[in-house]
Subunit: 329 residues, 2 copies
């Protein structure tokens, strides 16, 4: 039995937030909609250390391999100068169940596949002619989401808001180089950011809602990336109720873990209210945005099919490039 | 960030079925009973290839590290000359959630920790003076269970029964060398084996029950290892109903996945009927066997605390021995 070990530096050589990775994740969403995937998730609480682990996986029919992804969030790490998030992915052979590869990506591939889902949401749901982009949060995923959006839309201005102005300054300094002269500015507050933007991407770990329904305006698209565990929340439930169109990555999951869960709890939505899945858009059975004035919201919680798609892409590219350490049993 | 990769050959140098590994698993059961552990599990069905993955984990308060174990069962593998089971374990730092080690054990550590649980069950529940040991099944776990029992009981004779006489012959050939002259013989059928044995260990992947209540006799102890997924079953439900004493690894789990689940379904037990957990015996709050004539049954489904205990033991021993490949990020 042989297993390939890939390091983060090798994985970064193979996979970036580009049309290839977005297409791989899009294909996986289509398979999910077509009923070809099972997507179990599991959490391991580590309360003594203010941490939690999330395990996600998905076998997709017809795929040679499937991933098991283990991602961590340990919220005391930043006090020690360490990132709160980490993790790795494993690939297994679909035919035998044997381990195929260990991807020591330190969470990089999760950022790419989450960015890719954001790109897909924007591709189908944002207006074609967006002027201003608003990014709520200034962490790693805020960076990936902006790079992702660039793959599917042109825009003229970026606003960013986060509670810590130091983080905002660092974000602007980092991202400026990627924007080819497009101005990127701090917003004075979340309200100004939402009111002035054509697309808003929320990427915070907030556990109290930020975006209010009063701030919504015709033509706005919001992608909410932060809520994924049943207590993180970025949108007031009224935002979902007021949207003309609600889309998500996986209904059964957003009803339990995402922004939709809070709207259900608040009695502002029921499970019978219309919510489409990204896979319905990528499969072409539902339309994306249907008018320039629609208010659209996409609730992303992260699905194992994204991990399987991105891990398999990384593995194939690494093999093509002759990368990785092969260990015999 | 550094991560240690351990191969099966290195792991085998560090961990065997001996008093050290049994003590480590026993300590973990005590912690489980004391409420110091969370033990999530997850399954990934791969129906196209007649396979399934099982993910188990447990964070145990006060332990430096915790394991995530991924084990596979792909039942078409033997047709191709491959083992049906495989897998690996991962260790994570309890304080930061960072990956610490990848244990490429191909399922070896699962066999050891399952054997260790069997040893603990026999230590507390089998009679001191057992004469004949009956092993149902002739696979890898049948081997580990017999080695485990040797650590806690002396005996004079071993009977083995499995459907395939070829497997029985191979088992006897393999195990003879470990038994120091104690005779090991094929039993003509499961009934003879159970009737003639003082302890019976069932290790089959059977999905239809084998052991009948009529075969039970005073003083018998049965440890059932096979049922762990909600459809595997080795004991008729009447066996549990007729036992004087029922013990298990984890009540909430055996009620869903183990032999107890079938007895509940059959209406022969309720969730209020007495069932003790191994951790109550190892913690000393409940007695083991209380009379030579009791009929005792232990239902083992496998708990993540066993994986955490054994993976941590393997990692520590490997570090002491300077084994393993360290990869920087």
């Amino acid at each position: 039995m042989h297993i390939t070990i890939l390091k983060e530096s090798e994985i970064r050589q193979c996979v970036a937030l580009n049309p290839t990775s977005i297409a791989a994740v899009e294909e996986a969403f289509t398979a999910l909609f077509q009923g070809k995937a099972t997507t179990p998730i599991m959490s391991i609480p580590v309360p003594d250390h203010h941490g939690e682990m999330h395990v996600k996986s998905a076998y997709i029919q017809g795929f040679d391999s499937f991933a098991v992804k283990i991602a961590s969030g340990f919220f005391d790490n930043p006090k020690r100068g360490l990132p709160s998030g980490s993790g790795l992915m494993l690939l297994f052979h679909s035919e035998t169940g044997f381990p195929q590869a260990v991807l020591l990506d330190n969470g990089y591939l999760t950022h790419v596949r989450t960015g890719a889902a954001g790109a897909i949401a924007a591709k189908y749901l944002a207006r074609e002619d967006i002027h201003t982009v608003g990014i709520l949060g200034a962490g790693r995923q805020a960076r990936f989401q902006l790079l992702a959006l660039q793959q599917v839309r042109r825009f003229q201005r970026v606003l960013v808001y986060a509670r810590d102005p130091e983080h905002v300054r660092a974000y602007i300094a980092d991202m400026q180089a990627h924007l080819g002269g497009i101005p990127i500015e701090p917003a004075p507050d979340a309200e100004t950011l939402v009111r002035q933007s054509d697309i808003v991407i929320t990427t915070t770990p907030s556990t109290t809602p930020i975006v209010r329904a009063e701030w919504l305006h015709p033509g706005l698209h919001i992608t909410a990336v932060g809520a994924d565990n049943g207590y993180k929340q970025e949108l007031y439930p009224e935002v979902l109720a007021r949207a003309d169109r609600r889309v998500c990555d996986l209904k059964t999951q957003v009803f339990r873990l995402g922004e939709h869960m809070f709207a259900l709890k608040a009695g502002l939505l029921t499970e019978n209210d219309p919510v489409d899945e990204l896979g319905e858009l990528t499969a072409g059975v539902k339309l994306g945005r249907t008018s320039p004035d629609e208010i659209t919201v996409c609730d992303l919680t992260g699905v194992g099919i994204q991990d399987t798609a991105i891990a398999l892409l990384a593995y194939r590219k690494a093999k093509e490039a002759g990368l990785g350490l092969v260990i015999g049993s």
